[in-house]
């Protein structure tokens, strides 16, 4: 059961990485700071608002991530795990893309 849970967050992170692979680093950096601030205060509404906006702007790449998020059923206490999985996915994609 635990291992499955682990997988869930791991795959979410992978999808987030793929979704933002082609975005520019400056853009990603802006989103990351916004997402981090939303997570810090535990503001789920704001977090998903920022994320959804970013995904809409990059609709083609974000399809898998959107599917994954909608598949995951999470409780309030898991929000932290979900948000940081996405954040770390974006951080990794940022460095893969290289600097502008």
């Amino acid at each position: 059961m635990d291992e499955h849970q682990d997988d869930k967050w791991y795959w979410l992170k992978e999808k987030a990485k793929n979704a933002f692979m082609n975005s520019s680093d400056n853009y990603k950096q802006k989103i990351l700071f916004n997402l981090l601030n939303a997570t810090k205060t535990g503001d789920q509404n704001r977090f998903f608002n920022i994320l959804c906006r970013a995904m809409v702007a990059n609709l083609e790449d974000s399809r898998e991530l959107a599917t994954k998020i909608s598949d995951i059923s999470f409780k309030n206490k898991d929000f932290e795990k979900l948000s940081y999985s996405i954040i770390f996915g974006i951080i990794v994609s940022k460095n893969k893309h290289g600097g502008n």
Binding site: T39, K40, Y84, N95
Partner: protein, 598 residues
């Protein structure tokens, strides 16, 4: 003797054998150890010799040598200290020396237990005349004498003479005080008066002593209520031969039935608090559906059980030095030979010791050394340390019990882990240049979490108070993490029956992962001043156990880093071990801060 401890099998059938073997009940085993200690101290027999003698003639050992040794030890340790007169003390000491020598017996009587005991008891009585008389004479120093309703002729006569002497002392108090150079409130003792020449009281005391000794030798003291063996013990007043009101013949019978340990004739039917202060009372023993308390009949296969219970006190190592360590303590493992060796070593060690006051540290040092010889994991897995300061009917002070859990035992058996944890690290500043230290291995034994110590130790490093014990800290965190994981799982799962051997590999793997990521952080964050600020910030979040803030602060720093793949490793580490880990995330977070400040 040549087999390793783990190869020895204890089964019920062996209990009937003559060889001494632990039973698994620690309080009986402590007594058995006490029995071995007693025989060793009095007769100088080591465990092998004692076993040999028991197998040659067990009745002779238990009914003959044991009562002699017990009486000798009791008289020398407890009764002799009551006598204040140094000269009398010296005389009595010389007489007591002969008690332990086995008296001659006629041919053919060496196999009869009752005969052996009778012979030994008579020998004890004869050799304790002087002690008994001197203890009786001490009544002169007491102001009030509790008078019994019915007293024998000898006692009545004795009491009369005592009152007579007391009156003479009272009437001539000023003269005596002058002769002895004593101030008004100083107590006058009877033996001091004896030294004054031309004094009526002195003569009378002397003649009373001689009279009593004569009566002892001439009359049959067994039938006289006034005479009894001056045996006493604060620990086991429920053994009736300690009762002050019992005369010699009653004492003899009671002592014999104690050695025989037959519950049908013995006054003690149950093993409970009446017998040993460490046990529960009958009422408190809540296993009511099974049995009311531990009945003696349950221990029928353990021969001479009361002998062992009587020696319980002797099993403990006594600490008479002026140090803050407990007064009595015992190392217990389920193997007699091993426990005996360790306790013997501890005793020697304590006499040499003057600076190190940590009992567990001293014990563990001895245990670990001996384990190396014995290669026994099993013994360590089941070891306890029991300690107390005072233990009698009225009060039990400083009683403590330290057991080493099975899993901790597996961990310290590994050389690499033990070496790394076997260090004292500073964790708090006391004054300038002075620190409080914590021995990681000891904290582990006590079952305390290790990460708070490492957190405080790291704080000292960040404040530039002390250098960082990096390897020890990483191993401590790895151990803490693995223990937390195990403790969260079900107790009797498969790992439990596999002896937790997997945990050693897991600790080593975890430590190497932590170390690797610490190095990555070290390379990713080269700016020392910036790192210090960041480490303060991160440390504060860990102290508040605020995972969200920790991740937030760290993520913000990582966004701007580009470390040729290193940040990917860190990201994986954080994702797996901190984001998804609610149980032990601090253990994984601390090595990252170490990477910043190292």
């Amino acid at each position: 003797m040549n087999t390793t401890l783990s190869e020895q099998i204890v089964n019920d059938k062996n209990m009937d054998n003559t060889k001494l073997e632990f039973t698994g009940n620690w309080f009986i085993d402590a007594g058995m150890l006490g029995f071995v200690n007693l025989m060793e101290e009095v007769y100088g027999w080591d465990l092998a010799e004692l076993n040999q003698r028991i197998s040659d003639n067990k009745d002779l050992v238990y009914y003959g040598y044991f009562p002699l040794a017990y009486a000798y030890q009791n008289f020398s340790n407890i009764q002799l200290s009551k006598i204040r007169d140094p000269e009398a003390k010296k005389d009595i000491k010389n007489e007591l020396k002969d008690i332990k020598d086995m008296p001659e017996m006629g041919e053919g009587r060496w196999t009869n237990a009752e005969d052996i005991f009778k012979n030994a008891f008579e020998h004890i009585v004869k050799k304790s005349y002087k002690l008994t008389v001197e203890l009786k004479l001490m009544i002169i120093d007491k102001k009030e004498d509790k008078k019994k309703k019915k007293v024998s002729d000898i006692e009545e006569e004795f009491n009369k003479k005592v009152i007579e002497i007391q009156n003479i002392i009272k009437n001539n108090e000023n003269e005596i005080r002058e002769a002895l150079n004593k101030k008004k409130k100083q107590k006058i003792l009877y033996y001091e008066i004896e030294k004054i020449k031309n004094n009526g009281a002195a003569e009378k005391i002397k003649s009373l002593r001689e009279e009593l000794l004569k009566k002892f030798e001439e009359t049959n003291p067994k039938n006289e209520n006034f005479f009894r063996l001056p045996l006493s013990n604060k620990f086991f007043t429920n053994f009736l031969f300690f009762q002050p009101g019992w005369d010699l013949s009653k004492q003899e019978k009671a002592f014999y039935s104690v050695i025989k340990s037959d519950d049908s004739v013995n006054e003690l039917k149950n093993i409970g608090k009446t017998l040993n202060k460490f046990l529960l009372t009958q009422k408190d023993f809540n296993n009511e559906f099974y049995t009311s308390a531990l009945p003696v009949s349950m221990f029928q296969n353990i021969k001479f059980i009361f002998v062992y219970l009587l020696c319980f006190d002797e099993g403990f190592v006594k600490n008479n030095q002026n140090n803050p360590l407990p007064r009595s303590f015992l190392f217990y493992s389920p193997n007699l030979n091993f426990s005996h060796k360790i306790n013997k070593k501890l005793k020697i060690f304590f006499n040499q010791q003057d600076k190190k006051y940590d009992l567990l540290k001293i014990t563990l040092n001895q245990v670990i050394d001996s384990l190396y010889e014995h290669q026994s994991k099993w013994s360590l897995e089941s070891m306890y340390i029991i300690q107390y300061d005072t233990l009698d009917n009225q009060k039990q002070e400083g009683v403590e019990f330290i057991g080493i859990p099975k899993i901790q035992a597996v961990i310290i058996m590994d050389d690499t882990i033990r070496e790394n944890l076997n260090k004292s690290i500073p964790y708090r500043k006391k004054a300038k240049g002075k620190f409080e230290y914590s021995w990681i291995l000891q904290e582990l034994m006590k079952g305390k979490p290790l990460s708070p110590i490492i957190l405080n130790h790291l704080t000292l490093k960040i404040n530039e108070e002390y250098y960082l014990s990096l390897k020890s800290s990483i191993y401590a965190l790895a151990v803490d993490k693995c223990l937390r994981k195990v403790q969260k799982s079900i107790i009797f799962n498969q790992d439990f029956f596999k002896n937790h051997d997997f945990i050693v590999d897991e600790i080593k793997r975890t430590a190497s992962i932590m170390s690797l990521n610490k190095n990555c952080i070290f390379n990713l964050f080269p700016n020392k001043d910036e790192n210090k600020r960041l480490s303060y910030e991160l440390l504060a979040t860990i102290k508040c156990k605020d995972k969200n803030s920790f991740l937030n602060v760290l993520s913000k720093e990582l966004i701007n880093k580009n470390g040729k793949g290193k940040e990917k490793l860190i990201e994986l580490y954080i994702q797996k071990n901190i984001v998804q880990n609610d149980i032990s995330w601090e253990c994984y977070a601390l090595p990252l801060i170490m990477g910043l400040v190292v």
